[in-house]
């Protein structure tokens, strides 16, 4: 705005002007007074400035004395659906803003704008299979790209690293089988999120938060690796990263062997085609939380590999995994159940 009205302390309004302006503010002007005020404002720019300044001050006074209420509510939506035997979970976050009218107290709610469409996880093998096939076709038909440069930032990070993203109803059993972010490509009923204290009658607790997962024989978790900006980690020569976490046996007795592997799922449906470039084993021996850490790496020389799983109807041909999405898989290869919590991943040089 040009020609701002500053506080002109030298201007002294007449008592008539002061009286009329305040009557206008308080909605008490009579017809002849309205005419007088209008004539004053019309003939004198300083009078109009005074009136505008007085109205502005009145607005400040009103604003200062009447409460202003803006209510911000963050809503998280988790929707579970099941169709043709395949479960899906979708999540979204929205912010709702309510602006209250200080005069009569009624609030208007501004329509929510979805802000985070966080990971629509479809476990439908059909959909994922089609996506994987499309990705494979894209990779096979595109021109070769120069090797990706190492990334310093953003950082690699697990989603739902401590399995706290979904709440377990206090009145329900202390388990749920939906494990957000950890059932990429496949799901199994042999892993569940567990409210550790409730499940163990208070004898044990989670390493972080309230929940941990419990993995039975043959159970597994898989997660596509992503950076904290949401971009996927792509396979490249010489890539190294470290997986850490905490594990604990469910009961005393035999130790448990778990394997942690890198995976590239080239297709999931109709036929499975999967490459496993690296794998490490860990032994869990204690019924107390035990920290583990493994380093996984991809070969420095070539990423042309033979799939370790090839479905019916597919040739077990060598394939180049360069630039394909990399996932991590944690498998229980023993007959002993164990808890897992507080997972982390970091890229190493």
């Amino acid at each position: 705005m040009s020609d701002r009205i500053s506080n002109n302390v030298n201007y002294q309004p007449s008592s008539e002007l002061r009286d009329l302006v305040d009557k206008m503010i308080d909605d008490r002007l009579l017809a002849d007074e309205r005419d007088s005020l209008e004539a004053l404002l019309e003939s004198n720019s300083e009078a109009l400035n005074y009136c505008a300044e007085r109205v502005h001050f009145h607005a400040e006074l009103e604003e200062s004395m009447a409460p202003v209420r803006v209510e911000l509510t963050q809503k998280r939506h988790v929707v579970f659906e099941k169709k043709r035997g395949f479960a899906s979970v979708s999540r979204a976050m929205s912010n709702v803003v309510k602006i209250e009218n200080s005069k009569h107290g009624k609030a208007v709610e501004l329509p929510p704008k979805p802000t985070t469409q966080a990971n629509f996880l479809s476990y439908s093998l059909v959909a994922l299979g089609l996506m994987a096939v499309a990705a494979l076709i894209f990779q096979l038909t595109r021109s070769p790209e120069p090797e990706l440069a190492p990334r310093l930032a953003p950082k690699l990070a697990f989603n739902n690293a401590s399995f706290e993203d979904l709440d377990i109803n206090e009145k329900s059993p202390p388990y749920i089988f939906t494990i957000l972010e950890w059932q990429d490509y496949f799901q199994t009923s042999k892993v569940k999120v567990c409210d550790v204290e409730r499940a163990t009658d208070g004898k044990r607790s989670a390493k972080e938060g309230r929940y941990a997962v419990i993995i039975e024989e043959g159970g597994f978790l898989t997660q596509r690796l992503t950076y904290d900006d949401g971009t996927s980690l792509k396979a490249r020569k010489g890539l190294k990263f470290r997986i850490s976490g905490w594990a604990m046996l469910e009961s005393t007795g035999k130790p448990c062997s778990l394997s942690i592997a890198t995976r590239v799922v080239a297709s999931a449906y109709p036929s499975m085609r999967q490459v496993q470039p690296s794998v490490e084993k860990i032994t869990v021996e204690s019924t107390e939380w035990q920290k583990f850490s493994v380093d996984l790496s991809l070969p420095k020389d070539s990423l042309v590999m033979r799939p370790n799983v090839t479905g019916a109807g597919l040739e077990n041909d060598l394939m180049d995994i360069t630039g394909l999405n990399l996932a991590i898989s944690i498998d229980n290869k023993s007959s002993v159940k164990f808890f897992l919590d507080a997972m982390s991943v970091e890229e190493i040089k």
Partner: protein
């Protein structure tokens, strides 16, 4: 913290305090909108005052303007762009209210003068004096404060008349005192402003 909302124990957030709210918990677009909304309330209220005098109608107009701006906002708007759109919207809302309710014509300025006054309020230098104003309000006597409360805080539009009745005074004399109180407060704020 900001000023306590009377009798609630809840402090009213100032704009700067809003900035301290956990940034991660709010969507940046929502945060920006609320920040702009709070910064715009005073000039918007003053602008609407050029057209309307009814406090409830002004609040409704602010709410409706806010709703429309929310729906039409463009990503990347600056405060200036937000405010310009708000004033244009508020003008139409206020004129529409006048057309619909047709208040007593003799108390209104002419349409041309309304526009002139509303535009002139936008040229008032904002000097972020709400906190100083709160200090000045605290210096008033309980009797003075009661008059201001009746005019600005009470939900009942007849509150000043009721106060006059309870004090056995004429309401015109309370309005006269109200005019003086506004001048006292305005002078107090001017004295306290650091650059005066």
């Amino acid at each position: 913290m900001g000023q306590e909302l009377k009798g609630t124990g809840i402090s009213q957030l100032t704009n700067s305090e809003l900035n301290k709210v956990d940034a991660a918990a709010l969507d940046p677009q929502v945060r920006k909108f609320v920040d702009f909304y709070l910064q715009t309330r005073v000039p918007l209220r003053a602008y609407i005052y050029g057209f309307l005098k009814n406090s409830e109608a002004i609040e409704d107009c602010i709410q409706e303007t806010c709703m429309l701006v929310w729906n039409k906002q463009q990503e990347g708007w600056t405060l200036d762009e937000y405010q310009k759109f708000s004033y244009t919207t508020a003008r139409f809302k206020a004129l529409s209210w006048l057309k619909k309710h047709q208040p007593k014509k003799h108390v209104q300025l002419s349409p041309a003068m309304m526009e002139k006054l509303a535009d002139r309020t936008l040229q008032v230098e904002p000097d972020h004096r709400i906190s100083i104003l709160n200090d000045c309000l605290d210096r008033l006597s309980p009797e003075q404060r009661n008059i201001l409360d009746a005019r600005y805080e009470a939900a009942d539009s007849q509150a000043l008349q009721l106060l006059a009745n309870s004090l056995s005074r004429k309401v015109d004399s309370l309005y006269k005192q109200l005019e003086r109180l506004r001048t006292i407060l305005r002078d107090c704020v001017r004295k306290e402003l650091p650059y005066q």
